[in-house]
Amino acid sequence: MVEFSETFELDCGELDQDHRRLIEMLNEIVAMLDDGKTGDCKSKVQEFVNFSKAHFRREERFLAKAGYPGLQEHCAHHIRLNKKMDHILEFADMAGVNEKARESLKKELVFFLMDDVITTDLDFKSFVEDKRP
């Protein structure tokens, strides 16, 4: 079970809320896999991917508006994550028939969300803090 503790917070309401929502979705998917409901998990994973993509757009807009100097690099990072999401969907496809795919799906979702998405975002935490009046 993944928890959104304080140290993952950007202190930026809208984006933190998105991250929290993604963690909820991740936990739901993991619970489904552990309960053997692999059939339902595919659509949930698709939902997770769609929400991630929408979140990236919201975040990029927010950063552009704030004048974040690392915007282009962060956009590039988000684009690279598309490939990872393709893989995650492939694992989800196989989750019903392949135990290894279930394992990899869980592992990848956690690393993707907690490391690639949320921890990498913390790079701009201090920028956002300094901007605050």
């Binding site: 590039a76 592992k107 921890t119």
Partner: protein
Amino acid sequence: MKGLHIFGLSHAYGDNRVLDSIGLMIPAGELVCLLGPSGCGKSTLLRLSAGLEKVQQGTIVIDGVTVATPELHVNPEDRHVGLMFQDYALFPHLSIAENVSFGLLGMDADKARARTMDMLDQVGMTKRADSYPHMLSGGQQQRVALARALAPEPNLLLLDEPFSGLDTSMRQTIREETLGVLKNSGVATLMVTHDPEEAMFMADRIKIIGSNGRILQAGRPHEIYYHPNHEFVARLFGVMNRFEGVVINGRVETPLGPVATDLADGVAVQVLVRPEGVILESGGGVAAEIISNHLLGHDNIARVRIGGVSGKELYVRVHRTFEVELKKSITVSLDHEYAFVFPIEGEGQTRPSIATQTAAAEYRAEVAE
């Protein structure tokens, strides 16, 4: 959340900046390998995590507890971290059992003994409990060091090139054993290695740090090998074939045919191809002549030349039982899964792809409106 969480971590020794904005999350039970050139700051990152070095910038959290910021420094002994460093040898004057129970000082004596024997059992060293370190082989000492590090049930295990002192065959055995013990313990592990194959074998996730002290790429071993983001990452895994060219209509021409890329038109690029990405055939590709072909068994690499006497030499992995002598003609072709395109700009920042430039520009335009 249980595990190791690091963010915004930068570190310098005087003017020498070694780590730059490092972020890392390792959930309990997972093993992350750090790979990078000598001097990029891998050991520094471990020392900072262990509390042997003070944090200058950034935050380190272990099992949900913040243990280090520039204003806060929790002492190493209060972080519940297990260490296995290159130069962190066993205590020579203590027996094997005493070495393992060293970290269990506060524990009830019977429990400590039971825990020690359990750990020695897990690493297969029960029979040597009363021996002294100098009586053991390197591999056996390494097993004991692992038992010692894990005995106090640390929240985090830090391994700095733990197998570098072992010879090849021993290394493989100890790696496998260690992995089994670690997975069984459920501890979050951060391991440094010089050996990319070792990282592939051990890691749930590999993090590559460049000589600029920044993270170049993070991903599953499969992803790092088949989808490297940087020239440096691609080259980690051994010899590469290299072609140069310019992107035209989203493609680069090579002597083995065009390769697709999402880099912008007009960018000068290099195409790196792994030896297994050049397929040796008899007919159906570009004509080639064999320069050398040595059987190694697991990893047969031949050298071939294309384009005549003054042409280009390529390294080719020979698949199956391709017997050069029995072929009328030799040809080579490209397996695109193993061909990677990078801008010619050295390690570090890749030129953004078309998509990136467009995305960032669009947002800026939107904001300007």
